[in-house]
Assembly symmetry: C2
Homo-oligomer: 202 residues x 2
DNA sequence: GAAGTTAAGTGGTCAGACCAGTGACCACTT
DNA sequence: AAGTGGTCACTGGTCTGACCACTTAACTTC
């Protein structure tokens, strides 16, 4: 009967994924139970479970014994953590990660200078900041959701390797540069503080 | 019996992972069968399978029906691809995709100018090129594997939306710029041909 | 009304069965 | 000697049914 060569749990994975999209499930929402999914999709419960494990690893869902399966807030992909311990073992990979992150952040700085609205600028000023919370605002200011996604992934990796803390004057001076929409100044600031620190630790 | 609160398939995942490390398994090597693993670890076969699914998703192993489970060549972590398809899912603005791709390609051009070896330069000259085969060489020349992965994902999506063909003089002139290691010239060329075309179609 | 009990539902796990490929082995043909 | 086809043991893929541990809510009981 199974004419297709594709494996059931792969099929099931995508079916559940599609189901999530079509139902427009939001973080916190509950998925049908494993038994119901198996029944509805016409597959065995074990296949459903193997598919759910994949979704779990991707950080899309979370299972709670006795309660059910729930949508997880997008962003904490624990798979990043896992990947880190697998992929980022070598110095080669770390070097690539840092280099890529720095390149992307420099781009974002440039874009942010062009696109940052006064409103967002004000909000940045009012907030307390760590390096990544600060830069998240920068990346958000680029108004490019895809770029933000990429940056988030890189940062997730990065956090598992390094802890980056900068003196408060960095944020203050950077904010001034942003306010002046001075791309050159912002980049200079970035190179002075961040890149220097990065090259040391490496 | 099960004093620990951690789930069996998680435990099993790490045990198999440890087993791989301790045995020093190399790409192509075969793992014990699912039944033997279940037996040796004292757990059910379904738990072993759920653990194997995770390892598979991480790109560490590959299962072949009738043959067994094998270590996978290091490097093709298809989860990056998967992750990409999640990041890019939905009707993300084409604008974001194009903008990001362009930004990354410009970066890669700059890096390539610094790092391109004469040998690679020669090979590029000899080859027939489409836009993406050409640029792949550029991105490879950055010697940053992570950047390459990101670019591949973006390009993958891009291909589903646009077909980008450029006149052959683009490749010739770009090659000359690369040979001269002239970053400015290469970027100028890129802006003249690619960005102009992109902004039209959009 | 508050506290304790019960029952239904859920994920977690296991064991066993069967299917569908693979590969080695062996008897048989040419 | 070389090729052919069948058999058989083993592998991953799948399904089923049975428990367990846990949560929740409805239902007692005081």
């Amino acid at each position: 009967m199974n004419m297709t060569t594709s494996k059931v749990y792969i099929e099931t994975f995508w079916q559940i994924h599609r189901m999530i999209e079509e139902a427009g499930l939001q973080p916190g929402d509950r998925l049908p139970s494993e038994r119901e999914l198996a029944d509805r999709l016409g597959v065995g419960r074990s296949s459903v479970r193997e598919a759910l494990r994949a979704l779990e690893l991707l950080g899309l869902i979370e299972t709670r014994r006795g309660e059910g399966t729930f949508m997880k807030p997008f962003g904490d992909h624990q798979l990043i953590q896992l990947l880190g311990s697998f992929i980022l073992q070598g110095n080669r990979e770390k070097r690539d990660l840092i280099e890529t992150k720095v390149l992307i952040e420099r781009i974002c700085l440039q874009l942010a200078c062009e696109r940052l609205t006064d409103e967002k600028l004000e909000r940045i000023k009012r907030e307390e900041h760590t390096y990544h919370s600060f830069f998240r605002r920068i990346v958000e200011a680029t108004d490019n959701y895809l770029l933000l996604r990429i940056w988030l992934v890189l940062t997730d990796f990065f956090k598992h390797i390094y802890t980056l803390t900068l003196p408060s004057e960095f944020y203050e001076q950077m904010w001034v540069a942003l306010q002046k929409r001075s791309c050159e100044e912002a980049i200079a600031m970035y190179e002075q503080y961040v890149m220097q620190k990065m090259s040391k630790e490496n």
